[in-house]
Structure formats: C-alpha cells, structure tokens
C-alpha cells in the first residue's frame, strides 16, 4: 500500500485512497477516450469536408434513429455504472468503523487545534497511529472551515454549532499536509497543519510525553503554532507585528498613546486584542483566544517574553 502518486494525484496513504484513485482513473480514462474520439472526428471532418467549391450545397444526411438512440443509451449506462461505484466508495468513506480512535478538532481563524482523549492538546501537528482507524470530531469556533488531507483523500467542512466528522486509517508513517479548503478570511491560505503518522508504539510514547506538565516556556512555544500565521519571531512583519525582542520596549498604539510591552500588555493583547491596537496594524487579531486557560496564557507570556 501507500501507492506512489502520479502527476495527477498525490501519494495514496490511507486505506481507501486507492479505491478513490481507481475510480478516478476509470472516469479519467473513459473521458479521455471519449474526448479523443470527439476531437478526432471533429478534426477529420473539418479537413475532409473543407469547402472547395463556393457553389456547392451538400444534401442533408439521412439521420439514423438508431445512432441517435445509441448516443443516448450508451452514455446513460456508462454514467449509471460510475454513479453506483462512486456511491459505494462514498458510503465507505463516510461510515466510520466503530473502533476508531477519536480526536477532537477545533477550527478557528486561522489555526487548527487537536484535542486527544488523554487530555493532550496539540497545534499544527496532529499525531495519529498508523494502521488504526482514526475518527475526527470537528467543530468550528467562528466561520466555516474545511479539513482536507490530500494524501488520505478526505475532506469535510467544519461548521460552527454542529459537529462534523471524518475518518481515515493511515497506511504508512510519514508527514502529510492538512489544508483548510473553505474560504475563511485573510489567512485562509495560512490555515495549515500536518498529520504525523507514527507507529502505535511511537504514538503511545508521544501521548505519554505530551501528558507531562511542560515548563511554561515550552508550553507557550507549542501554543504559539496557532499564532505563527500572523506573527513572525524573526523580526519581519506579517499580518501582525513580529513579537521577538519587544519585551520591555515601548509600544505605540493606534490611538496615539504609548504603553510598555510587558507581561500585562501581552496578556491583554491575547485576551482582548481590540483594546490595545498596535500602531500601523488592523484590529483583526481574533478575540477567540480569551478562552485559553490561565496556564496556557502564562505559557505564551513566558515564551514571548523570552523571544530574542
């Protein structure tokens, strides 16, 4: 398993990806054959019956009812066949095995948050065990998002006020891209993450490691993954200001006042971003982070404070 991709499709890394691909290739090649037939006939007629005599008026061709009927019946059969096949695979893709390992996914502008039953929370990297069905229970905090892993051929919209879910079973260890495919605002294209598929043992080890209490700074570093779409830590301005080397300096605000970039300012910026807008920036930092726990905020503050 784990078929190599082609120019058309990325590597197929989930259990049903190959079935989707088989269907894709069937439709692809039938269409190609039909298409070439149409184009070939067109080009041939165009050249063969090119007008040479301006006065010629060709007689109408006697139309064959049989031929006309065949053009209707044959494609209909073809199309019904594809429909049934497509439906079958669709059912499989959308009915999760009952023994699936469950992960909660929260989509928010513009990051993914993964919550494991063991109490572990992760951003930007979703660890999953290989060879075991995984089910994602997904929900959005703000607007529509869509969760897409090309290598697994899965995609599902993530909706506020309703849970949607998808499942897959990774076939090989590796890192695979996660995209957000429902337009969700400014940094829609930055709402990325990775699936990290690892063996069962590695997965268990990872969970165990994550469950330990991290020192605040490290916790902050992990959490910062969801801020990275807008904040650089290398001094370059993105949608939001860079956050390194700022601690203790003066910060000019959009309303003209100046404050010190200290712990309180950072905390305030996270809990209520609109209250103190940095000069030269739009007040578009999401307010959703106010739901973070005190521990998480302390972690972030510690992390930002230490950034050089």
């Amino acid at each position: 398993m784990g078929d190599k991709g082609s120019i058309w499709l990325p590597d197929a890394m989930s259990t049903f990806a190959n079935e989707v691909d088989a269907l894709f290739w069937f439709v692809f090649w039938t269409s190609t054959v039909l298409f070439i037939a149409v184009v070939a006939a067109k080009v041939y007629f165009m050249l063969r019956y090119k007008r040479t005599d301006e006065t010629s008026v060709p007689e109408p061709v006697h139309e064959s009812k049989l031929l006309e009927a065949a053009w209707i019946v044959v494609p209909t059969i073809l199309v019904l066949f594809v429909f049934i096949w497509g439906f079958d695979v669709y059912l499989k893709m959308n009915t999760d095995p009952t023994d699936a390992y469950q992960i909660s996914v929260m989509g928010k502008q513009w990051a993914w948050e993964f919550e494991y039953a063991e109490g572990v929370t992760a951003f930007s990297e979703m660890y999953v065990p290989v060879g075991r069905p995984v089910k994602l229970m997904m929900n959005s905090q703000d607007v529509l998002h869509s969760f897409f892993i090309p290598a697994f051929r899965v995609k599902m919209d993530v909706i506020p006020n309703r849970y949607t879910s998808l499942w897959f079973e990774a076939t090989e260890p590796g890192e695979y891209q996660i995209f957000c495919t429902e337009y969700c605002g400014t940094t829609h294209s930055g709402m990325l993450a990775k699936v990290v598929a690892v063996s069962e043992e590695d997965f268990a080890a990872w969970i165990a490691e994550q469950s330990q209490d991290l020192p605040p700074e490290q916790l902050g570093e992990q959490l910062f993954a969801q801020c990275a779409a807008c904040h650089a830590v290398d001094g370059s301005a993105k949608i939001g200001p860079a956050l390194n080397g700022r601690f203790g300096t003066d910060r000019k605000l959009a309303d003209g006042s100046t404050v010190t970039f200290d712990e309180n300012y950072i905390r305030q910026s996270i809990l209520d971003p609109a209250s103190q807008v940095a000069e030269g920036y739009q007040p578009i930092m999401p307010a959703g982070y106010s739901s973070m726990s005190a521990k998480q905020i302390d972690g972030l503050v510690a992390y930002i404070k230490a950034l050089q």
Binding site: T95, M156, N161, R162, T164, W167
Partner: protein
C-alpha cells in the same frame, strides 16, 4: 386565434366563488381549534390549496385562458415543490451517515438542560441554595 372571444364570468359565478372562499376560511379557523393530531397541518393546507385553486381557476380565469399560461403557472408551482422537497431531503435526513451529527450543538445543550431540569443533580441543588 381561435379564442378571440374573451370569457366573461357571470356575477353569479363570482359571488358563489366568493361565498365558497369565505366559507373555507371559516372552516380553517374552526378546524384549527380541534385537535386532530398529525392531521391539523395537512387539513389546513388542503383547505388553503382548495381556496387558492378557486382563485386561480375562476377569479384569474385560468380555466378559459390560453393553455400555455396554465403550463407556465404549473411549472412555477412544480419548481416550488422541487425547491421545498429537495431541501427537506437534506434537512430531515441530516446526519444519516456518520459524517455529521443530527442535531446542532445548541440543541444538544438544550436537551441536556432539560434533562437536568427533570433531575436536579447535586451541583444544581447547591447552586440553588447559595444565597444570592
């Protein structure tokens, strides 16, 4: 054109139809007071449809009009039915596979609150006792 003569509805016809419409209105109001269980809605809709049909056929004279106009009207109604029924296929069956939940998060919360109201648990009782 064959139907150069326009149909003229007599005052008598119009009055009878009007009387029928009033009667049916009273009937809807009355039947709505009865408790017919699941039948209340279909009955009210059936009466409304009858009334609408009377207006269309006689007042709007579709009965004597060009058949094309009847077709136009019929197609319009048909597509309203398509719109409603195809949307209902979705909304009534939401969550038929495991890729979505049936209810919304809000519904689940309401449900949970209802259950809690029936059987107050320890924390709820305590809450009630806290002096406010």
């Amino acid at each position: 054109m064959s139907h150069a003569e326009h149909h003229i509805s007599s005052i008598k016809t119009l009055t009878i139809v009007f009387g029928g419409l009033v009667f049916l209105t009273v009937l809807t109001v009355l039947t709505a007071q009865l408790d017919l269980g699941a039948f209340n809605v279909p009955l009210a809709l059936a009466i409304a449809t009858t009334k609408a049909a009377l207006v269309v056929v006689i007042f709007m004279a579709l009965k004597w009009d060009n058949k094309v106009n009847t077709a136009i009207f019929g197609i319009g109604i048909l597509f309203v039915i398509v719109f409603i029924s195809f949307t209902l296929f979705d909304t009534l069956n939401r969550g038929d596979l495991t890729n979505t939940t049936k209810g919304t998060v809000q519904d689940q919360q309401i449900q949970a609150e209802k259950l809690q109201a029936q059987e107050p648990d320890a924390s709820a009782i305590q809450f009630n006792r806290t002096p406010q």
